[in-house]
């Protein structure tokens, strides 16, 4: 089943998402990248109804790019999260709501701070030190409660993330086999191997 985790540390946010695209009980694809870079310092993991997720992620990506071109500066993570949340909240009360859950992480360059936002398909948003979506969240959140440290180095952050991935692999029946892991910090967005 679909699972995504994210956590903040000293000057960075790590976002991980599994790479399966499933339909009913069948894995259709095992190398789907579900963590999108929305800008030089912004990352978003998307999960939920297939089709809606990609459509909405691209809609967000292009609108954030448009803002960038029009105003000649990037939206801060908090501003981007507010815009995304409002899009989902308005969509919820429309004829065809998007069924998309998000983890939006970014590095606020002027303030030199990492930010992570937990957003669900209803338009519920909360800034969190760590967050997760999907069945994996039931295992990952309790692990992160115990091991998360907001001042941890990137290596320590990755080690904590590995604990989450291993626990899900061990305890969840329908556990994903592969994850994409991306980091955003002062140097921008990059993919890492775990």
């Amino acid at each position: 089943m679909e699972t995504s985790f994210a956590l903040t540390g000293k000057g960075y946010v790590i976002i991980a998402s599994d790479t399966t695209a499933a339909r009913s009980i069948v894995k259709m694809k095992i190398d789907e990248d579900k963590v999108k870079a929305l800008g030089p310092h912004l990352l978003m993991a998307h999960s939920g109804e297939p089709g809606d997720t990609l459509q909405f992620a691209e809609y967000v990506e292009r609108n954030i790019r448009l803002y960038n071109i029009r105003h000649n500066y990037s939206l801060s993570p908090s501003a981007a999260a507010s815009w995304v949340r409002r899009s989902l909240a308005e969509s919820l009360r429309s004829r065809h709501p998007y069924s998309v859950n998000l983890l939006l992480g970014g590095y606020d360059v002027p303030a030199k701070e990492p930010h992570l936002y937990w957003i669900d398909y209803l338009g519920t948003m909360s800034e969190v030190p760590f967050g997760a979506h999907g069945y994996g969240s039931y295992f990952a959140l309790s692990l992160l409660d115990r091991y998360h440290n907001p001042d941890a180095s990137l290596e320590e952050g990755i080690a904590t993330l590995k604990r989450c991935i291993d626990e899900v692999a061990k305890r969840l029946i329908v556990s994903p086999s592969k994850y994409t892991v991306k980091v955003v910090d002062k140097d921008g967005v990059r993919e890492i191997e775990v």
């Binding site: 989902l88 909240a89 937990w118 209803l122 338009g123 519920t124 948003m125 969190v128």
Partner: protein, 208 residues
Amino acid sequence: MSIMEYNGGSVIAMVGKECVAIASDLRLGNQALGISSNFQKIFPVTDRIYLGLPGLATDVTTLQELFRFRVNMYTIKEEREIQPETFAHLVSSTLYERRFGPYFIEPVIAGLSQTPSGGFKPFIAATDLIGCLNFAKDFVVAGTASSKLFGVAEGLWEPDLEPEDLFETISQTLMNAVDRDAYSGWGCVVHVITKDKIITRTLKGRMD
């Protein structure tokens, strides 16, 4: 599964002597799963009005943004600050606009209204999710722990409490009520509004 209990959370407001207090828990959940222990449900409207919005979390944020907009428009057009009574009716009519597809929020309003002589009179009110106003002289409650809050508040509240005593009363009421509610808790925030200052304190609570 009720949509009013999907995210959990509770708010209470109490009247004191020339002061009012409003307090809420800090939990954001998805049914029984806790997501955040720092989800604010109380927002300042003016220097002397605070608004509590327990209910569906998406509507907490949407309504907070909507009320900020409407109060800003009022301030610009009228060239004065909104009074709590007026604001309560703004809340009521905003919710009734969505009579047949409501926002799932039960707002609580606490503030000090200015009297013609220049003094301040405590004001509290609450509405249901479609904007039916309830003006109370003592206390108002809302959210998933409302039934427990009624019980404890009924036992602890007394008239004409000074700000510090009112703080103690509202804190004890909220903390003890949310401990009996699985969907509320994870810390509390209390605001006491007096005529010349606002006292805001965050309380630690049980994390289970």
